[in-house]
């Protein structure tokens, strides 16, 4: 029997204690009991209850009511303005016709954009990322996958490149249960080692929990010899331009270790490099950074197979969804239940991926990231 099972084991004595607790916690008599017994100790603990000063309680109530009323009034005003501006008799028809025309033009443009794959990618690139659909993952990453990330990339030749990678443990649930780690709270904001904020999505499907955050930061060149940087290796070649990159991975899952992973990518400024993002072999995530080929896009490029890339929305903004991930041989697999969602929010690019999660669930998770915190 595993440790986790032992921790969940309830004895007859436990059941009696739980039943007695109900009774103790319902008893408001303040009766003193002997603390020598476990029940007496519980009753003693339940009787030592802090209470607020009346003045604080009253002041907070007043403050909350004011906050509630302030939160209400701007919406009333804007509704009033909308009604006044839209339906005043002397302007109504002209304004309405103008608004309808603008809406129709926007819808047509949006429709064209969504319908044509090339323009879809143009829209994504405008938002700071694009997709590169390939049949097979590039050889240098496949080699790294085959050699468990340890191999120097000898065949990279004179091509400049840096590679970052992380691999998550597969049996995370047991690790966390055994160690009793604190885990990222849904809806909280985590302050990362570099002082930046990471907003943890408030929503998770039932049975899931956020488990850990891993960060990859930096400019490899700024740390000296590139291959010394943690979780990365250098591909050699001539020196590359300097870059400043932050990548954070929020890892979650359920008790069967089905993962859900939110990756956040941020560049501090526009840099003339390609940051190719990949997800392989279930728990391996990484980036290949290199100068662009002639006429190829710069910025974040998601390396995906020839799949069902389609457009959707997150928080009313454009987002892209597709199914699949790379296996350890660099082939795109779509039969393992991986769904992906990519979008831009507050100047950062997000990639949310999960196994056996629907697009609707991914979108719900994405929509629960606080927009305010991202800024």
């Amino acid at each position: 029997m595993t440790l986790m099972n032992n921790e969940r084991e309830l004895t007859e004595q436990d059941r009696q204690l739980l039943g007695k607790l109900e009774q103790i916690l319902s008893d408001d008599s303040g009766e003193q009991r002997e603390v020598d017994s476990l029940y007496g100790f519980c009753a003693h603990m339940a009787s030592v209850v802090p209470q607020a000063q009346h003045s604080f309680r009253q002041q907070l109530e007043n403050r909350l009511i004011v906050a509630l009323q302030q939160g209400k009034s701007p919406k009333k005003q804007s509704l009033y303005r909308f009604v006044r501006d839209s339906f005043m008799p002397q302007y109504s028809w002209k304004r309405l016709r103008w608004a309808l025309t603008v809406c129709m033009v926007l819808m047509i443009l949006f429709g064209i954009t969504v319908a044509i794959p090339q323009t879809r990618n143009v829209l994504a690139a405008w938002l700071g990322f694009s997709f590169d659909q390939q049949v097979k993952l590039q050889p240098l990453v496949v080699e790294a996958l085959e050699h468990d990330w340890q191999s120097p990339l000898a065949q990279a030749g004179d091509k400049s490149l840096n590679v970052y990678s992380v691999e998550f443990p597969k049996d995370r649930w047991l690790l966390i249960e055994e160690a009793g780690f604190l885990t990222p709270e849904p809806g909280s904001v985590v302050v990362l080692p570099n002082g930046s904020y990471f907003p943890v999505p408030a929503y998770l499907p039932s049975g899931y929990q956020w488990q850990d955050i891993t960060t990859m930061q930096g400019n490899l060149l700024g740390r000296g010899f590139p291959s010394l940087a943690r979780q990365s290796w250098a591909g050699g070649g001539p020196p590359m331009p300097s870059y400043d990159l932050n990548v954070n991975y929020l890892i979650g899952g359920d008790s069967t270790n089905k993962p859900v992973i939110l990756a956040e990518f941020e560049l501090s400024s526009q840099q003339e490099l390609v940051f190719q993002i990949f997800h392989a072999d279930e728990t391996r995530f990484g980036l290949v950074i290199q100068p662009p080929e002639a006429k190829s896009p710069t910025g974040f490029v998601f390396l995906i197979g020839s799949g069902d890339l389609s457009q959707t929305t997150v928080n009313m903004s454009a987002a892209w969804q597709y199914r699949g991930m790379w296996n350890d041989r660099g082939e795109w697999v779509m039969d393992r239940g991986w769904s992906n969602l990519v979008w831009e929010q507050g100047g950062r690019i997000y990639h949310l991926t999960g196994q056996d999660l629907s697009y609707a669930e991914l979108i719900s998770i994405a929509a629960s990231i606080s927009l305010q915190e991202v800024k």
């Binding site: 309830l10 739980l18 020598d36 476990l38 607020a52 906050a67 009323q69 009793g180 849904p186």
Partner: protein
């Protein structure tokens, strides 16, 4: 009835609570009812987690202000989902608080909150504060998960099912942690305080 735990909360059934939540963002009176219902439990829970009255007041205020901001988008899902939501906000605020301050501190008696007491004698009030700090110290010796579960159960007045929802674990695990935590705390209480007093 769950949630009483020696805490002066007003009675409210599910339908009443649901109706109040629906109206709360536009009806201050509805919000006041919810506030008065949950305030004592939330205050007691936060007090046990942070100790100092000043920090408790800050965190309780922050929790309710966030609740005001979010109540319009809150969706009733089942019995006690509002309690779970509110205490989750409080727990997040406490986690953020501890990221910025020392993990745990002993708090001088004059900086501790007042305790519900059946006697108004000053000596009894001091005694109560000492008991509170002693229990707080005791709870702090438990594992983080046991600390969370015991304070949510005893002072937040939440059922095991609601605690499971907040912590993202199953109810059985909550029950097991609760029993183990109480047994450990009791044993330590006997060893550290009762035996010492008898000597």
């Amino acid at each position: 009835m769950p949630g009483d735990s020696g805490l002066a909360t007003s009675y409210m059934n599910n339908e009443q609570e649901k109706a109040l939540i629906t109206r709360a963002h536009e009806d201050p009176e509805a919000f006041k009812h919810l506030y008065n219902h949950y305030f004592p439990r939330l205050y007691a829970y936060v007090s046990y987690r942070v100790g100092r009255v000043e920090d408790t007041e800050d965190l309780v205020s922050e929790t309710f202000l966030k609740a005001v901001e979010g109540i319009k988008s809150f969706r009733w899902q089942h019995e006690n989902s509002f309690a779970a939501w509110l205490f989750r906000i409080a727990r997040n605020s406490i986690s953020n608080f501890y990221r910025q301050t020392e993990r745990w501190q002993t708090v001088p008696l004059d900086e501790l909150p007042d305790l519900q007491a059946h006697s108004l004698l000053p000596s009894d009030l001091i005694l109560q504060k000492e008991k509170f700090e002693r229990l707080r110290q005791l709870i702090n010796t438990l594992t983080p998960r046991q600390q969370e579960i015991i304070t949510l159960r005893f002072f937040g007045g939440l059922r095991n099912q609601e605690i499971a929802e907040i912590l993202g674990i199953d109810e059985r695990t909550v029950s097991a942690h609760l029993c183990r935590g109480l047994e450990t705390a009791h044993q330590r209480y006997i060893n550290d305080f009762v035996a010492a007093e008898r000597e």
